[in-house]
């Protein structure tokens, strides 16, 4: 079976600074993959590179099609939902408007309505907050909204950048539980970047460990989790 996303020899630059030095990995259809590593390892940059939000070289293929060099909005329109670092809330728009913008590119009204119901089922709190200005939501609610926005695109791949960041443990558990359901029920493949390696390895079936812009190891999440040497040297627990 062809991979959903294939990244090969990916280099990324912020101006003069090179942040990725030839990262390669592949994502299977329907799986949950996590990118782990310390601060500055290049996890966020990898996600940003997939959506062409940084300058890149190398090959990125989504469903077999090369996508590097395509504008961010065109990559997104192919079916890549990106839940960005910092949640990317449209703070001055209402929750309802946030969700409507996310479905802006879709013509199929019935499918959009179905996804709306799915979002309400996953995050009932958002339904109660529809008219509220999104900037006034709590951090956890904004994270739920960010995931919901990505869902409203009707994606086949979802990139999640530290969804646990700055949230209370109970909320994080809730969000990870929903992420698993999104993967199983909505059949969206996930690529998850996390600081909290223990949590990510619990959810994921595949893991890649990055260090200073390179993949230093990869394997089944269960194998990585049980390998004490890796855990101590790269994941810090």
């Amino acid at each position: 079976m062809a991979a959903l996303l294939e990244v090969d020899g990916l280099k990324a630059y912020y101006g003069q600074t090179q942040a990725l030095h030839g990262v390669s990995f592949a994502l299977e259809q329907g799986g949950i993959t996590t990118l782990l590593g310390a601060n500055g390892a290049g996890k966020t940059t990898t996600l940003r590179a997939i959506c062409n939000m940084v300058e890149t070289q190398g090959s990125i293929r989504f469903e077999g099609k090369p996508i590097n060099g395509r504008a961010t909005e065109e990559v997104v329109r192919l079916g890549v939902g990106h839940v960005p670092e910092g949640r990317g809330t449209f703070t001055s728009l209402s929750v309802d408007e946030n969700l409507r913008v996310a479905a802006y590119t879709r013509a199929d009204k019935a499918a959009v309505a179905r996804d709306r119901d799915m979002v309400y089922e996953y995050f009932p709190i958002l339904k109660q907050r529809l008219a509220q200005q999104a900037g006034t939501l709590s951090g956890g609610e904004q994270q739920m909204l960010a995931i919901s926005r990505a869902l409203m695109l009707g994606p086949r791949l979802m990139l999640l950048d530290e969804p646990s960041f700055g949230l209370a443990p109970l909320i994080v558990q809730e969000i990870f539980r929903i992420m698993r359901r999104i993967n199983k029920e909505a059949r969206v493949s996930l690529l998850l970047v996390e600081q909290n390696a223990a949590l990510a390895l619990e959810l994921a079936d595949h893991a890649y460990v990055l260090e200073t812009g390179r993949v230093v190891m990869s394997g089944k999440a269960s194998d990585v989790k049980s390998d004490e040497a890796i855990r101590k040297s790269y994941l810090g627990y």
């Binding site: 939000m53 960005p84 990317g88 703070t91 001055s92 728009l93 408007e97 913008v101 590119t105 006034t136």
Partner: protein, 301 residues
């Protein structure tokens, strides 16, 4: 008393034009963060286009509709061709381009149509009605068209998917791209809308001030004043600001005249209107930097 009503009425009429121009400025400001100094000259150019179309025998409203559309395209073109390469340029380069645009539209109008003053007929019928001593039909027309424009824009931004996408792109371009919105086109669209609104403002004010290449110079300043007083980030605020500036400048001149008649001291009169407008701007910005109706976005992290 009669004079006071008259002054307020004509202030509202002038305010309508300031409001239109302020609205055009806000359109570009909210999506790009730039103040387009050439907005007034672009409006003047559009007014000439309307005049030309009428010379060719078109009726005013048909001409205005056509010119608004043409101006929209000119605005989009200016953004795509001239400003697009400057997306990452420092703000000063952009300012220089705006001043360049101002000069270009100004001399282009002069070169094509000459610098002599042209008469521009009012599109509104000359009728008399109760109260027409205070306010003329053209002035009422200006106010009505401005309010109509505001309602139409409000509906567009509030109720259409495209309007929502434009607001999203203005508020958070990165997230808008991640929602599949073509942000670059939204900016161009903002320019187009601004130019079209300017076309309406220019064509409506031309019968009141006569048509000539300099007609918009001081009106643009009032437009700035209106936009800043109302809050440069809020379309409704800009319109309110335009009306406030229009009425206030007349009232201040009126007050100055009263004072002169009562005490013989000349303090302020029609000649100082423009200075007064600028003093208003500075005062408001000192006391309330986001403008009277500008909102500070609430953010929780």
């Amino acid at each position: 008393m009669e004079q006071l009503i008259e002054q307020v009425a004509s202030g509202l009429a002038n305010g309508a034009i300031y409001a239109c121009l302020a609205l055009a400025l806000v359109m570009i400001f909210v999506s790009t963060g730039h103040i387009n100094f050439a907005q007034g000259e672009m409006a003047m150019f559009s007014a000439y286009l309307t005049w030309q179309a009428m010379q060719w025998g078109m009726n005013f409203w048909a001409a205005l509709a056509g010119v608004a559309l043409a101006s929209f395209l000119i605005g989009v073109l200016v953004e795509r061709v001239i400003l697009r390469p400057l997306h990452h340029a420092p703000i000063l380069s952009v300012v220089v381009v705006f001043i360049g645009l101002l000069a270009i539209f100004h001399s282009l109008a002069g070169a094509i149509w000459g610098h002599t003053i042209k008469e521009f007929p009012s599109p509104f019928p000359h009728i008399t009605f109760a109260g027409s001593g205070y306010i003329g039909p053209h002035q009422i027309g200006m106010v009505a068209v401005t309010l109509l424009l505001l309602v139409a824009l409000f509906a567009f931004f509030r109720f259409t998917p495209l309007g929502l996408a434009m607001r999203a792109a203005a508020q958070n371009p990165v997230s808008a791209r991640l929602a599949g919105v073509r942000v670059d086109w939204m900016l161009a669209l903002g320019w187009g809308l601004a130019a079209a609104i300017g076309a309406v403002a220019g064509s409506l004010v031309a019968p009141a001030v006569y048509l000539e290449p300099n007609m918009m110079a001081s009106i643009l300043l009032y437009g700035f004043a209106g936009a800043l007083v109302g809050g440069i980030s809020s379309p409704g605020g800009a319109v309110a600001g335009g009306f406030i500036v229009g009425v206030l400048e007349n009232l201040i001149a009126y007050g100055g005249n009263l004072l002169e008649r009562a005490s013989g001291v000349y303090l302020i009169g029609n000649g100082e209107k423009l200075s007064v407008a600028l003093i208003i701007v500075i005062t408001v910005l000192t006391l309330k930097p986001s403008g009277l109706f500008g909102h500070v976005t609430v953010k929780r992290v």
